[in-house]
Symmetry: C2
Subunit: 452 residues, 2 copies
């Protein structure tokens, strides 16, 4: 029997014999009786197991069961309407399946995030991680359900690639050699880990109309920040016959759907984050789910920022600049007071594949900024005009030949299309209020840090 | 408007004005009228668009629209109860959004699989690939729905790892250097692409009880077969408090669920495979979904094989051997006539983490064999006894230190647990009857083959 099932319907189990397996979260006792808080993994909350000296053969041994141990409990479920918890299990017998020994690294005190990062094999059992990794699973399902319900086709874009969408400097090489003779390597040429599935998914949008990726991506950036990991999961939807406005409609609908799905499917976890991590997290995401996402041009944003430039650490505000997080947060928190799409960025600060606007200076890009974190989603309409794209590659000194297949999509029944990227781990941080990406990934990979 | 929606409810659209976008699959015409088979990506089937010389301003241009071109059609839906297709679109206007030019690689003839593998950016539009990549998406959702409905937690095990579950020989190195000075490398040590998420997911099973992975895995095996790719997706569920029998129950339920889900959610695609790829594929998978999966020991299987050894290419049958595909297929096709779990394999031919049986000679492993393909799933009960596991590592000359964290799980509230691995791409081959793994992956990666 799973605790989750008991909790959903404890009254119908009143007085019944129940068998549970799980792990001991606390064990306290007196001479006459003891209490074990048992967690069986099926839901966030524990169940209270009461055992009595009088009726428990191995009372002495049971009273010494250590935190983290695995046990099996046979007993009776008894409703306790006057107590804090609505029911408890009165144990008939308790069997130890596996003790945790004196080295068990989680004790009944608060451990630092830094300490926990050293023990990724044990930390999922600590409340914060226990909540976040289930939320990770719930949010994954939210994403899949949202897109599949709308007829989007899920595409497994490749992890190992010969292409590189955003410049080769930040890529991991994949090799079976110990020298750099890539022409003799496994694939007969240089191979690397993908930084984005976008280029590879576009052919599928030009086939199935609406598609999405959801998979790992990689950056070999040698930077240690709280928001960057070397391995992270991205969602990259791509929509044919869709312009920038359609794109933003899809982003807005997706974000709202994910928020509501998580509130509905992980209520205990979200309540935990509100209580222990960030007291505003539920209020914040509910406000976003209820709001209408505004839209503002980059140019207008710059005007707002110029007026307020004294407030910023980086006061050098000018048209053409890359916005910093403080600027993004100012726009959505102070100017708009809610989520906002910034659109039509200077072409020089955006990727080659974004569609050039009629002004020839900006591209049809959209970044979704949300209060508290700043940028959450980045997207654009793609340049569907073959000649314009060829010119753009020349301007940027990007070699055309390796991208010829991508260009050819524009000659093979190309059409207007748009897409975006959502950093899955950042979305998790946003929902939970957890501040470091290392604490939302099961096994975070960062420079000089590869545990197990 | 999406064609899928029209097809589901065409009668209610009878006589209505409709706008469609999509790609031209065929275009044939006379002087007076023409027919375009349009596909908009939303479903397998096309919709017929009729256009008339009389009423179409750009009739000449429309009649020359090339295969693969993107168009927008405005017209009236007219039910045609006496025709092969139940409705058609009578075009008022047709706008060309993007022509496909003379280089368009798909023409109205059959192309070989080999030819298609050279053009992964175009082949999704060819029927076989169009069907298989949607089935890929549907099967992905089947997997997620099955496990999430049952409370399993989805875990993103790492892609880059310092660990290696099955021996280092077949791994890709991940590096930012061009020499082999791994201690100066990005992670400060040697890093590689994962071959399995199992070791990394076990800690989560010992927390959430029931968990699963679904992600890419990698093998640097230099072998060119129709069943091996260097990059492929795996599902690796892990169940705590579960023995080998519980494990097999879960496998059986999952396989049946996936089959039924795909038959229900991709009926047009499955009908296509039955017609064009493998006339038995629907019959075969329906039989599996309706059958009870038998269980047989490896030892018993060897007895059967010894009696029939003259039938095999490899006639050297003995206890302790690794079964070949022909042996596996004989057992399920001739002996059992249906799916069968082979269990209790000799420990020498199985992985170190599998639980040693009381006979000390076999381990609690289970391979699911199905008619037509042989092995589809491999699983085992895991060795939960610390001392036994330490001995096993010594026997096999595997260094204990890098696996100490894995061993420690046995000291930190360990318990009986089991799990299995399903090769996602092989399951797709099984469902569709497609014979080469290169034809079920969007961008297949194999030795000396890395396109885009």
């Amino acid at each position: 029997m799973l605790v989750k099932k008991l909790k959903e319907d404890f009254q119908s189990f009143d007085g019944q014999d129940i068998t549970l397996q799980g792990w001991v979260r606390t064990n306290r006792n007196s001479k006459a009786l003891g209490f074990i808080e048992l967690n069986d993994g099926s839901c966030f909350g524990n169940v209270q197991v009461v055992y009595y000296q009088e009726s428990t053969k191995n009372y002495e041994a049971i009273s010494k069961i250590t935190l983290g141990s695995a046990i099996e409990v046979k007993g009776k479920l008894v409703c306790t309407p006057d107590s804090k918890q609505p029911f408890e299990i009165q144990a008939g017998s308790i069997e130890v399946l596996g003790l945790s020994d004196h080295d068990y690294p989680l004790q009944k005190k608060r451990h630092s995030f830094e300490y926990m990062r050293e023990i990724p094999h044990v930390r999922p059992r600590a409340n914060t991680y226990y909540a976040i990794f289930r939320l990770r699973s719930v949010l994954s399902m939210a994403i899949h359900t949202f897109f599949q319900d709308r007829g989007f086709v899920y595409v497994h874009t490749p992890i190992i690639t010969g292409n590189d969408a955003e410049g080769a400097g930040e890529c991991f090489t994949v090799t079976t050699r110990e020298d750099n003779k890539y022409e003799e390597d496994f694939f007969g040429k240089h191979a690397q880990l993908t930084v984005s599935g976008q280029l590879h998914v576009e052919p599928f949008a030009l086939t199935y109309r609406n598609v999405y990726t959801f998979g790992p991506t990689f950056r070999a950036e040698n930077s240690n920040t709280t928001r960057h990991a070397s391995e992270f999961w991205m969602i990259e939807p791509e929509l044919a016959f869709a312009d920038l406005s359609d794109n933003m409609d899809c982003i807005e609908e997706m974000i709202k759907y994910c928020i509501n799905y998580c509130l509905e499917h992980a209520p205990e976890e979200m309540a935990f984050f509100e209580k222990m991590i960030d007291k505003d997290c539920i209020k914040r995401v509910k406000a976003v789910a209820a709001s209408h996402f505004k839209r503002m041009t980059y140019t207008e944003a710059i005007e707002h920022l110029e007026k307020a430039k004294d407030q910023f650490e980086n006061k050098n505000i000018y048209w053409g600049m890359d916005l910093q997080s403080e600027h993004e947060r100012y726009i959505c928190e102070k100017v708009v007071n809610g989520p906002v799409f910034l659109i039509d960025y200077p072409k020089e600060i955006k990727a080659f594949y974004m569609r050039v606007n009629e002004d020839q200076k900006t591209v049809a890009a959209c970044d979704l900024l949300v209060p508290y974190v700043g940028e959450l989603v980045g997207g654009s309409q793609r340049e569907e005009r073959y000649d314009v794209l060829v010119e753009k590659l020349k301007e940027l000194n990007i070699s055309q030949e390796p991208l010829q297949w991508y260009l050819d999509l524009r000659r093979f029944g190309g059409c207007k299309h748009s897409g975006f990227g959502l950093g899955f781990d950042r979305m998790l941080m946003y929902l939970s209020g957890i501040q470091n990406i290392r604490d939302v990934e099961p096994y975070p990979r960062t420079p000089r840090n590869l545990i197990f």
